[in-house]
Symmetry: C2
Subunit: 333 residues, 2 copies
DNA sequence: AAAAACATGGCAACTATTTACCAAGTTTCT
DNA sequence: AGAAACTTGGTAAATAGTTGCCATGTTTTT
């Protein structure tokens, strides 16, 4: 593989000039630039990014940690991050945390050992304190779908409270008044906030929050089926069900159908996240869009702006969810 | 950040010894190893992977190119690759090709510029010749879900012909004899092979292949709905529909239901790939499992064996698909 | 025509590690 | 006790660039 020495020799210019052409920081006359570029082409020269990194103390790589590489959210988030960074000549190193504290810490350690210039973390198990401590290190960190007030400029998240509000509001708008709700684990901030939004929407219509129509699920299909079973067994009637994510909505749908419900006629169901399969469910799931792709792009922009000093980038830290009307919520008669 | 010099000083050993501890290639006595490790802990030393790469001419990174980071196949494939490589201390650099020739070439160029030790490619647009030429370069390449006979030891793929055969056989086993088939683009090898398998299964039962029950789709939902529409308009009766992938099966399902079919009673539908949403469809889709996660793991193992010289690794280049029985194919009466 | 701005050369220090070499010292085996 | 095997030290070259400095030569401006 050719080196800058060979390029400089062939082009008949100095080493420094080749470097100037490469790094575009000092002016170089068009004539010399052309000579250098021709020499590079002739030799098939490709800068050695490893040597560049060592000398400049920049690896041009951004570490990404997500819970799972499969899973519905991740793909779109990654696609957003990758496209922005790649366009800027940076690359992405990915690893997983599996939502377990030890594994998340291991993953972070792994990325740090790779000399990433920044980390974008989508972590769930690790504590706020750990993240605050981590952020004091030399490598800047950014958080996806997580809000830590001490690091708020480093967070990209959606307004879950608003999302919860919009979900229930959309159901109320169809005339439903008896609305069951399945939430996620209460130690997760997004579950809590979505629930707050739900309660706010109810309160606005002067509908009392009913503990009998409230169930704590696990964010998976099982949570949805268990929740619906619970409500049915309870015999408190309801015409609509709002779930804190799409997986649980899907579980509830399956359970409902297996127990003689005709959907959406007998029960309106609302999801949250607008995950890929929401559109494949029957009936197609009405849900709240979680703009993960845009959020991924924004996280990448945030890195470009703050780590790589790119100018003229506007940052939006909090994203607004919106309702996706499909077929699973219909008018209550 | 601490360097090996500081470690060697604190541990009271030579530079060479620290390097020996790090690289585990020469024997070091337990006592010295301990001294060195203690010094490392005390200093919070972390090897600089960039400097290691430069000096050893190994980046310990593997480049991955896929069509899309979202998309149902990719996540599982990635998860398989990443878990294996990460366990071996290697990392993964990911980029996308969007199934366009120029973008795939760009992506490959990008990964090469990152000094990857190997590339795992999931490419569709680029020609076999290009890949053969590329494989002559210094960086070894491996192909996922693509079979190029000249590079067969570098390919990890499934037996699509067998898959197509099993799909139709499973439908035949339920007593169906009038079976419609929607294939994908005929320039894609996997479409062609799945179709060959389909024909073979029909032939075994002495059922003639009927052009009226054959449609070329686009591997998307639209292909499924267009195909089913075509068959219905044709008025040739059939009790089962086999699709060359799950997306088209889903499109066909939706179209069927919108046109008064009750599923699966009025029409049995078979998919291919066992993509995540197959389990969320209604009725749950009977399909052919495409073991992408295992294939990803195998690709990683292949890299570990051939590039990183790990021993005792058994390689399986061709994977066998199998039938996943769910609810969308039922007995024909 | 003088001054200022620009372009380039040449040099040297720096980045953190690997790898190879041989010599010297220390254990272990016989 | 002597030989063999193992462990460690010390050194030096190599990896492929970046960065900063100053000198020199060339344009451009005034």
């Amino acid at each position: 593989m050719a080196t800058i020495y060979q390029v400089s020799e062939l082009a008949g210019v100095s080493l420094a000039t080749v470097s100037r052409v490469l790094n575009k920081n000092t002016r170089v006359s068009d004539k010399t630039r052309e000579k250098v570029e021709n020499a590079m082409n002739e030799l098939g020269y490709r800068p050695n990014s490893i040597a560049q990194s060592l000398a400049s103390n920049r690896s041009n790589s951004v570490g990404i940690l997500v819970a799972e590489l499969h899973g519905p959210i991740f793909g779109h988030m990654m696609a957003g991050i990758e496209s922005e960074l790649r366009a800027a000549g940076k690359h992405v190193i990915i690893t997983t945390g599996h939502s377990e504290e030890e594994k998340e810490k291991d993953g972070i350690e792994f990325l740090l050992s790779r000399n990433c210039d920044a980390l974008i973390l989508h972590v769930e198990a690790v504590s706020d304190e750990f993240l605050i401590e981590l952020s004091k290190g030399t490598v800047p960190i950014y958080l996806m779908s997580r809000y830590v007030s001490e690091l708020k400029d480093h967070c990209i998240s959606i307004d879950n409270c608003l999302g919860g509000y919009l979900a229930t509001q959309a159901v109320l708008a169809q005339g439903h008044t008896d609305i069951a709700y399945i939430t996620g684990h209460q130690y997760k901030a997004d579950s809590v906030n979505r629930l707050i939004g739900h309660k706010k929407a109810l309160a606005e219509k002067n509908i009392a929050f009913d503990e009998n129509l409230f169930f704590v699920g696990d964010y998976k299909e099982t949570g949805g089926s268990a929740g619906l079973k619970h409500f049915i067994d309870n015999k408190r009637s309801f015409s609509a069900l709002v779930c804190a994510n799409d997986e649980m909505a899907s579980g509830a749908m399956k359970y409902a159908r297996e127990h003689g419900y005709e959907l959406p006629k007998d029960l309106s169901i609302m999801g949250f996240d607008n995950v890929i399969f929401a559109n494949y469910l029957y009936p197609k799931l009405t849900t709240i869009d979680n703009p993960v792709s845009d959020m991924g792009k924004m996280a990448a922009k945030l890195v470009l702006k703050t780590v790589y000093n790119q100018k003229n980038i506007e940052i939006q830290n909090i994203f607004e969810p919106k309702v996706i009307m499909r077929k699973s919520v219909i008018e209550h008669k």
